[in-house]
Symmetry: C2
Subunit: 461 residues, 2 copies
Amino acid sequence: MSESQMRALGYQMVDKVVDHLMNRQEQPAIHTGSPTELRSALGGPVPLEAGNPEEVIRLLTESAFTHMQHGDHPRYFARVPGPSSFAAILGEWFATGFNVNVASWLGSSGPATLELVVCDWLRQLMGMPDRTEGVIVSGGSMASLTAMAAARTERGPGIVYISDQTHACIRRGLLAMGFPPGDIRVIPTDDEFRMSIQELSIAVLDDCGAGRLPLMVVATAGTTNTGAVDPIPEIADLCLASGMWLHVDGAYGAPAYICPEGEQLLNGINLADSLVLDPHKWLFQPYGAGCTLVRHPGLLADSFAINPEYLRDVGGDSDQVNFFDRSLELTRQGRAVRLWTTLRTYGVHRIQESIQRCLSLARYAQQKITESPETWRLITPAQLGILTFRLQPDIESASGKDVHTQLAARLSESGFAAVSSTTLKGQDVLRLCIINPLTTKDDINETLERLAAFVPLLSSF
Amino acid sequence: MSESQMRALGYQMVDKVVDHLMNRQEQPAIHTGSPTELRSALGGPVPLEAGNPEEVIRLLTESAFTHMQHGDHPRYFARVPGPSSFAAILGEWFATGFNVNVASWLGSSGPATLELVVCDWLRQLMGMPDRTEGVIVSGGSMASLTAMAAARTERGPGIVYISDQTHACIRRGLLAMGFPPGDIRVIPTDDEFRMSIQELSIAVLDDCGAGRLPLMVVATAGTTNTGAVDPIPEIADLCLASGMWLHVDGAYGAPAYICPEGEQLLNGINLADSLVLDPHKWLFQPYGAGCTLVRHPGLLADSFAINPEYLRDVGGDSDQVNFFDRSLELTRQGRAVRLWTTLRTYGVHRIQESIQRCLSLARYAQQKITESPETWRLITPAQLGILTFRLQPDIESASGKDVHTQLAARLSESGFAAVSSTTLKGQDVLRLCIINPLTTKDDINETLERLAAFVPLLSSF
């Protein structure tokens, strides 16, 4: 491709992305296509000859990207949104263009320094001790797996305690790591969906009594269902007393620790032996960045170091960190660039304000729910941006399918907004996750109004 | 940030990347900085206030990115290069800007279709059967781990056979998966660094005789050290006869299968139960893309499916693939966008030519080596772009450190080019990996000349 063509296509890309960012609130928050139609638009035989890049861009922007959830949309409240910010996008564009690989120190000293610096900034923001080490992997699932592998390296195999609200990636990760299903204990949660410290203590005592080794508790700092935070200080005490590792999964919730309100809610996460947070959630990064922080210096390298002969040129000295020794990846996309760019461009105060705004917006949504007792009943209050609620009174849909699922589906089909439905101890609920600072009160009002407007139509579902 | 500022910064990014692509051959192939200086330039306290984006960009481009290996540099011959192409960069820029997440079908039907289509194109190019399924993860390490987890799901635990040339990520992955070290057999290689089929057969028989279950052979289609290809058809026969899974790690080498010459060298890779290839190596993608292809439909989902209550809105029907069920990741960066853009823009013929050019360039380098018998001795011939050679006659450096390591280090320090040194059955060698189609014969000539010019200086090392 000629230089001028590359520049022109690049500018066009920038324009289309900026157009998307400026106009997203007028576009659907989510839209799903049919497999057949999408295959027909985007598939076909293996392309043998060169194609027109303009046509390729048209298909991407008018077909592929118009059939997806837009995690960065101000009315995308489903699952966990991905409100990526422009500085983060810009940083990642640079990393992609320069093809940054953070593997060996000798081959990536500049970008590796960015990753060291960013991990240390996150470490400080999370209140963890000086010598804590970090690594950025592809997301929360891999970040927790990385941390749990480090735990097993230090403590050996043993029993792992999770709760009935722990994210599904934890069990999946443990099973992939070869933990027998019988070594995973699911501790019930209390009425607020927090791991019951009493049940946990009993389970640990039981296992000790039976001669089994308790290895680790996975506490959640912001559950996906309700935003609940497990009683981390109490769990930390128990871990200390019984020699267990404390892993805190704060994939979506932990970043709120940087605001005073969040710090209170997340009290104790800095006691973790390992803490996971996802910059691609509440630190406004594009997808593909989960951070593992491990309190014990050197342990990540003890867990993952490799030393093959074909890497002997890049061994390096002790202050020269080889990031390929800190997780299961060798070649590693430079994921710290975007986060470094974000923190340097916006500064932490702006990010604090953005998170605080979301915490307040979720409380506003809660207020709107409680102001409509004829339609809604609040089930769990706004916690770290998440609240859940139910139709009031109970209504059965004609199909017998849960009405909340139907309402969420109707809203998604309309494209106006996206919310989740979920089940809390057998009770079906609607759920909003508000972590996008671009969301307005009007967005919340109208989303709730539109949901309510679907209710009379339920009998026809 | 204002719309005009975003556009201006975006254009500036495009210009800096295109400048890099146009002028890279005049820049160093690799440059390493000191931890202290880089920390001082890029570190500092957590940034609280907003910073000037121009200054941020300056630090990225003038400090971070000037201290790294440039895998896309035409004279970067070390480890495995990453010769990313502009169409791939452009595609990834789009995916980042639109924050593509390929997790559930309902939330990513467009981008999920791209991933289905791309995996199927790769499946066809690799000659694997129709119903083969694929998934794109962050790189070869995770791709092999994903495949090996699928193997264990289908066949249960058992003994894994690797060779003394198998990539280090395989053992690391197996250990992280909980395989006991004693369940990993390292099979010796023959004089051409290919897994010895005889030794493999003996080891398998031994294990069977002792009542142990052989699970899987990890064959390599292009070793990192020499580009050697294990005798895959024979290994496949043995696997079939003994019920073992055949995993083929073709992370760097497999893409060459799309050229007639490569197809011959890689004969039999399509017999694999699982095959890994890294688009971010020889398919010209920016870092962060490794592909797993699994012959057995449904097995990836059997291995990784999750079904938590908070994802019930996005369950989908059977022709609606939830990619979060195909690997250990839930939120998944849209890694197929860049590859789809590349294949549609350049077409396979152009990629074939590019790979073929590299195969020929490596043979040219071999010829240059053999034409200088007073300086070099060829150790392994050009295979899939890799060749190794030694100084002739044997020279000891003053420091006693291997001279080849010293030569590679000198060359890297000069910035002109980067080559690796490695050890082959106890013998130190220099190694070139030529997979960048932008490399010229002059690049090769001058790299060899400069290496030779360092030789008289060795006594002072």
